[in-house]
Amino acid sequence: MSENIIEKIQRKKMKRRSFLKWSGAVAAPAIIGSSTAVSNKLKITAETTDEATEEKVITTCGTLNCGGRCLIKAHLKDGVITHLSTDTKEDTFDLPQLRACVRGRGYRQFFYNPDRLKRPMKRVGKRGEGKFEEISWEEAIDYIAEELTRITEEHGPSCRYSNYASGHSGSIIGAGNMAQKLFGLTGGYLGYHNSYSSAQTSTATPYTYGTTETGSTLNTLSDSKLIILWGHNPVETRFGLTDFYVKKAKENGVKIVVIDPRKSDTAVALADEWIPIAPTTDTAMMDAMMYVIISENLYDKKFVDKHCIGFDEEHMPEDVPEGESLKSYILGEKDGVPKTPEWAEEICKVPAGTIQNLAREYATNKPSALMQGYGPQRQAFGEQFTRGGTILAAITGNVGVRGGWASGQGSINLVTTTPVPKGENPLGELTIPCFLWTDAVVRGTEMGEEDGVKGLPDGQDTLPSNMKVMFNLAGNTLINQHADCNKTAEILQDESLLELIVVSEVFMTPSAKFADILLPSNTFMERWDIGSTWAPSQHAILSEKCIESMYDSKSDYEWLTMLAKKLGVEEEFTEGRSQLDWVKWSIEESRKEDPNFPTFEEFRENGVYQPSVEENTVIAFEKEIKDPDNNKFETPSGKIEIFSKDLWDMDNHEEIPAIPKHVHSWEGPEDPLIEEYPLQLIGWHYKRRCHSSFDNNKWLEEIGPQVLWMNESDASDRNINDGDMVKIFNERGEIQMPVEVTNRMMPGVAAIPQGAWWDPDENGVDQRGNINTLTGYRPSPLAKGNPQHTNLCEIEKL
């Protein structure tokens, strides 16, 4: 018999030196609180525990920006969490257990990690060098208050910014929001719109439907005949309970197709068919599916006539020239290029026959659910991917029906939790797209509407000031999760640009190294909050404080209150409430909207609010489709807009077409740059991390090491073997890391799991494997979003 998998994995393990190096970095003894010492194994066994002490179990929830929002039970003895368990209630289709994934199971290595930041610190070296000296909280607050006042007097309040962040931030009491509240109370600030997760889909989806609320409750998936998960990987991203309900649909006999350049864990376990596709070319395949559906008369004519605008020349808005409808484009009536499966095959690498079959299956097996992930919208023209999915759903009549799916963003709010209000910004709704904050640092006073700036006061074309003050709380987008780390580092290092950088963190992350003042944050285990899942939202969990704040850490709300006091606005900032008071306030506010929302006492008793999905089933746009006369879509035409007049009027028809089109992507397979950098490089959300959180968790590193994924044929062309150290490079930078040669990656594409902590050597060569060493600054055209899966690179053996 050939080598079995057990031998193979053990042989492989030995080769991963970088893994051993990394795990060794967290091998110092942990100190819990000030007196209880435990070993680095967090070992709390009978011999160290007073057996007379009763075990206490507290239900809580990780409020990092993690998609699952699982239920965590912390088992405590003598105030120390000895282990965690998860939901054990009766497990039904209607009310499934909210079981923690691997990340939740590894939390003890997060909050009891010996490497936690312990005391406030002030920078002593150059910016980014990571040299600090310890100071007291009072000294830190004094310094921030003085510098904030000085810089604001010099540059005006619009120079102040609280960065997009989603790390230890919290849920209803978001750290960044609270910083904005404080800025608002002391003159104002520059805000942001968009997110790094879903900028393009959030912007593009409403052009079709008028809203981002296009999701149905997930129980309806069992009523589908076919589910297409397009760039959607709920098993690893932990997208609410999506994996659970897709599994139930599979058990119900529903066929599942996954489209992804990488054979994801979702594809392995849930798919009947996996279709690899070249990144940035999804819309070409969608166009070709539309070609099959239109040319073979498989579209839902009645639905399209009644509910849509822009399908053919007979249903177009006024003042648009002829030949601009979807049908005209797809059949090539104007440009002479019919968007046939053969045309698409050359671009997206999916065989014409496969496209044809899928198009026929999708259009004829109704209802079918085409669910779009956020990966493909994080591309150069991700807006087109979003629009393409929504239009496929519309022309096949899969909108508003149980078992169908409207596609697009897919949000739904079955449970709403009320966040702590951040108050008014005296500067109004002045915002930039969050991805363009580095631009605002360098050339803010040149940035106007064409850069996506919103809310400029009358008579002002550009931002009043460059960004000068950065509060980066609970986040790694200061460098790690932003694009082009080397360029970003240069901007951050220049002290004439940003004059004050305040960072709060749990660990010495790459972003933390760029702080002027670095503050140690506590974790969700040490404070009160309420967690609610990513869309489709189906539950809320009380995130109960389980242990006291460790070391000299504080929650962001606590130290911002200190700063508010120093600036003379404490009462306005807190409104007299502690964090626990705000949780109770939020519950009461939520109860005003939803009387079934539990009281604080009920919440504490049960830990979770999980309404019945069967009794509260939502089908997106059901009423708009059943009774269109009385229920208009929230679009300008009141219908589903296959053709958007608003987009047409932007007059950038090549990059922002009015109907969804495949647009040749920069750094896609059609870019001539591919001659120099022949491999497409994408990132993916790795099961062992939530964005960049947990990268230093040794348990999770063991189950998911940081490796580059590369196809066998691409590897052999370069004489690269499994486990080799390689360099991955393009004109923006270089990474050196180990490779996993695997055919789960399609030829021509390589992938690095995103979120690893940027670790440059003296030459700026990243030694850990952060894909953003190689990603670029150019934003997507409509949303001005981050297109971070749009990269060309070359790979060589070291």
Partner: protein, 191 residues
């Protein structure tokens, strides 16, 4: 004696490793010591169809702990008789008063189940979470699986419900140790 065993629904195993880390958390296991492990197996490759790419890539995961075998090689080859099978439920456990950490059990187990603990100088392994079971709970891995793909119970009942497959691609032959394991093989894993 009612022999206990595990059922793994590999069809649904996503390779997430929640079972592995839940086990580590419950048993305080450091890096390198894994009472439960998840193995990935990938075969197959790509072809061309005109300009397009076709594929026959086959991937599956197998989650394995100790199989509490009928003929445990770890026990047969233990020179100190530290490794033994509990009479009441057939669970294979280690008497740490006898174990000298010679690692013969590790070498002899085809599944890699016994795990050497350097700090203790002794072998350690899955005991099916005896303490949790005594308290009426499931083993940590069973309660952890987000796909509900692991079950634990009397092996005869599991075999009645799910068949008696313990031979899938990549695993050692069940004839070696007669494992108390039932696998619902992934479509890519059938032998």
């Amino acid at each position: 004696m009612v022999q206990m065993g595990f059922y793994i629904n590999s069809q649904l195993c996503t390779g997430c490793n929640a079972c592995v880390v839940a086990c580590k958390d419950k048993n305080d296991l450091d890096v390198g010591i894994n009472f439960r492990r998840v193995y990935e197996h990938t075969e197959g490759g790509y072809g061309k169809s005109n300009q397009g790419i076709t594929q026959n890539v086959q991937t599956f995961f197998t989650s394995i702990s100790c199989n509490h075998c009928d003929e445990p090689k770890c026990m047969e080859n233990c020179p100190t008789t530290a490794m033994y099978k509990r009479e009441e439920d057939g669970v294979v456990v280690i008497d740490h008063d006898k174990c000298v950490g010679c690692r013969y059990c590790e070498w002899n187990c085809p599944y890699g189940a016994p795990q050497y603990n350097e700090e203790l100088g002794k072998m350690t392994k899955c005991d099916t979470c005896l303490d949790l079971r005594e308290a009426g709970e499931e083993p940590a891995c069973v309660a952890a699986c987000p796909m509900r793909a692991i079950e634990f119970g009397p092996i005869e009942e599991l075999r009645e419900k799910y068949g008696d497959t313990a031979d899938v691609r990549g695993l050692p032959s069940s004839s070696i140790t007669k494992p108390n394991l039932v696998i619902n093989a992934h479509k890519d894993a059938s032998k």
